[in-house]
């Protein structure tokens, strides 16, 4: 997975569809990231923070009991063990350092489940930046504790009451903030989406997940690569980072979306939030609302590079239902002693469903466990108590 074309395209997807006011800021960011990424000093600083503060490298854990149960060899890339609880830290530390490098003093971020917001607030606290997080009102209710967590970390959380009151509306609001504050503010986008250079930059900042995992798998699998590599897809950052490490191997790459927000499967090409990609939309081009128990996957689109990987056939995109996800969450807890976040529980749910079917017995499967499930415990309790998971 290399850089996109000069116009920010991955195949026909991507680009930079932003109001004129933001074009210079996107250009500035493109230059700044390209400089920084080639600068050994920036890279060393980033690596040191991710190591000494973030806890990298994260291990790959072999799931012995689950493997026995499923008849396939399941390995987990443990992003749940990164400081602040998810892979999101990899991205925000990179962007917070970039914010400083551009001479800006404030970050705005959108968040769904709250994990990116928590990560952004964490990185802002670490580096002494101001931070404002936009979060759909519905999500602030579903993820109350994460709101408080962000506030403890010194961030200002602004509930978003427009539209579906979820992730897509939080992105709109963060963009509106950014237009007005771009002189001193960086938009710290949480996934591989948005206008160029965000999809490329965020993937590069997340590729540490895939690069580490590939080397770790080779040790565990006697020099071989896994047969299947699976990750959940909201915008697609943990999946993009994971795939970046394996795209050159023979591994089958699978992204798993929430059935209620399966833009890769049910989406139609369109333009939203600065990018051309696959979007859930109606005949007139109005964007539809995604619906899932996992706030972090409630997004009606996917990152443009995923749309392109899907179109070329290099990766496949599938989905898991809320029921399958809850069952996988419990299975992981009971057989491995790990509470996954509801987002990566989608990836696990897919493996549970496909083991012995499209994933033949005896295959090796790497799953990126993108975050820990502590944030979801109260919600899971309520869902299990009511029997079925309406939102």
């Amino acid at each position: 997975m290399g850089p996109p074309g000069a116009d920010g395209r991955f195949g026909e997807f991507g680009g930079r569809f932003v109001p004129e006011s933001l074009v210079p800021a996107c250009q500035e960011l493109e230059r700044a990231f390209s400089d920084a990424w080639a600068d050994p000093e920036y890279r060393a600083k980033l690596d040191a923070i991710l190591r000494d503060y973030g806890g990298r490298p994260t291990p790959v854990t072999e799931c012995f009991r689950l493997s026995e149960r499923l008849g396939v060899r399941v390995l987990l890339k443990r992003e749940d063990l990164v400081h602040a609880g998810s892979h999101k830290l990899n991205n925000v530390v990179g962007q917070a350092l970039l914010t400083q490098r551009m001479g800006k003093r404030r970050m705005v971020a959108e968040t769904g489940a709250g994990q990116h917001g928590v990560a952004a607030a964490t990185a802002a606290a670490l580096l002494g930046l101001e931070c404002t997080v936009y979060m759909g009102e519905l999500d602030t209710e579903r993820q109350e504790l994460n709101v408080f967590r962000m506030e403890l970390l010194g961030a200002q959380v602004r509930p978003v009451r427009s539209g579906s009151r979820t992730l897509k509306d939080a992105v709109n609001e963060a963009l509106r903030d950014w237009v007005a504050t771009v002189g001193h503010t960086h938009y710290c986008l949480g996934s591989v989406m948005g206008p160029h250079p965000f999809p490329y930059m965020v993937r590069e900042l997340q590729r540490v997940v895939g690069d580490e995992a590939r080397a770790q798998c080779r040790v565990l699998l006697d020099g071989r690569d896994p047969d299947v590599v699976v990750a959940c897809v909201g915008g697609g950052s943990n999946a993009a980072g994971t795939f970046a490490g394996f795209v050159e191997t023979a591994a089958r790459l699978v992204g798993v979306e929430a059935a209620g927000g399966a833009a890769a499967t049910n989406g139609i090409p369109g333009v939203l939030h600065g990018m051309r990609s696959l979007l859930l939309q109606d005949e007139a081009g109005q964007i539809l609302e995604a619906e899932s128990i996992s706030a972090g996957l409630d997004y009606p689109g996917i990152g443009p590079e995923h749309a392109s990987l899907g179109a070329s056939g290099r990766a496949a995109y599938e989905s898991a239902t809320d029921d399958e996800v809850l069952a996988a969450f419990q299975l992981m807890a009971e057989t491995e002693g790990i509470l996954p976040a509801l987002e990566p529980a989608h990836a696990i749910a897919w493996v549970v469903r496909e083991a012995g079917r499209s994933v033949p017995e005896g295959s090796s499967v790497l799953v990126t466990l993108s975050g820990r499930g502590d944030k979801d415990v109260a919600q899971v309790r309520d869902l299990l108590a009511t029997g079925r998971p309406p939102r």
Binding site: F17, P19, G285
Partner: protein, 264 residues
């Protein structure tokens, strides 16, 4: 040769108005936002608008503040479609040029050629697509040119001079000077950056220049017209319609803007 009916083409019309000593008044309202929005459109035209901007509602209007967002929601809740807004404009009989303003996904979904042709067939001679910057403009601009639909482009306070030149070279109808960094909405004052933006545009083109985003009152409109050729007034008008003022309040407000500009 037959002469096409309907309003005149936007740019020659605005140039002629300017040559005649007039300041240009371009009110904005959201298509289908109220039951009687067509009457509001007619009232606005009759009250002295030189052109009218009509919004086609989009679910995710990221350049817009709360007032125009609310108008979009109301229009969509009423079941508005791009097709219907365009048909309503065609049926309105309004004789000043109309420019639609919408987001790119609406255009992309319809198809560039199909959208350009349906605008043209409805007598709509211009379009503003704020999330379509110069670099991404190609396919739409080609289709719009072919259908004689003028694509109005925006210049922002953050746009560097060299880029202003390229934008102005590609702009049709008029050049939209964004008064401030930010989204649409009423403001206490005209942005401090406005004069500089207009100056940079003037250095690049002799096309009409209209200031928009935040222009809210007759006195602000007059102040903007001391440096620019005209103004776009959106949220202040849309708010009156959201509050239930109807065509009458819309016409009254536009009439006051007209007077302020004519007193100049």
């Amino acid at each position: 040769m037959t002469v096409a009916a309907g309003p005149p083409a936007l740019e020659p019309w605005l140039r002629a108005r300017r040559a005649g000593g007039s300041k240009l008044l371009v009110p904005y309202l959201m298509g289908a936002m109220t039951e009687d929005w067509v009457e509001a459109l007619q009232a606005v035209a009759a009250a002295g608008a030189d052109a009218v901007e009509v919004g086609i509602p989009f679910s995710d209007p990221m350049m817009d503040g709360p007032v125009i967002q609310e108008a979009s929601v109301r229009a969509l809740d009423r079941g508005a479609t791009p097709h219907q807004v365009i048909d309503d404009v065609a049926a309105s009989g309004v004789q000043v040029p109309v420019a639609v303003m919408t987001y790119y996904n609406i255009v992309f979904r319809a198809g560039h050629r199909r959208m350009a042709q349906s605008l043209s067939a409805a007598g709509i001679g211009a379009a503003i697509v704020p999330d379509l910057p110069l670099e991404e403009l190609g396919p739409w601009a080609e289709a719009a040119d072919a259908a004689s639909v003028a694509t109005v482009l925006l210049v922002a306070p953050s746009t560097p001079a060299a880029r202003v030149e390229r934008i102005c070279a590609r702009a049709r109808g008029f050049v939209y000077a964004v008064a401030r960094m930010g989204v649409t909405g009423e403001r206490e004052s005209l942005g401090s950056e406005t004069a500089e933006v207009v100056g940079r545009i003037r250095a690049a083109t002799d096309a009409p220049v209209c200031v928009g985003v935040g222009v809210s009152t007759p006195s602000q409109a007059r102040a903007a017209c001391e440096i620019a050729d005209g103004v776009v007034v959106g949220s202040a008008l849309v708010r009156r319609l959201l509050e239930g003022g109807g065509p009458e309040a819309a016409g009254e407000f536009v009439g006051r803007l007209r007077e302020a500009l004519d007193e100049g």
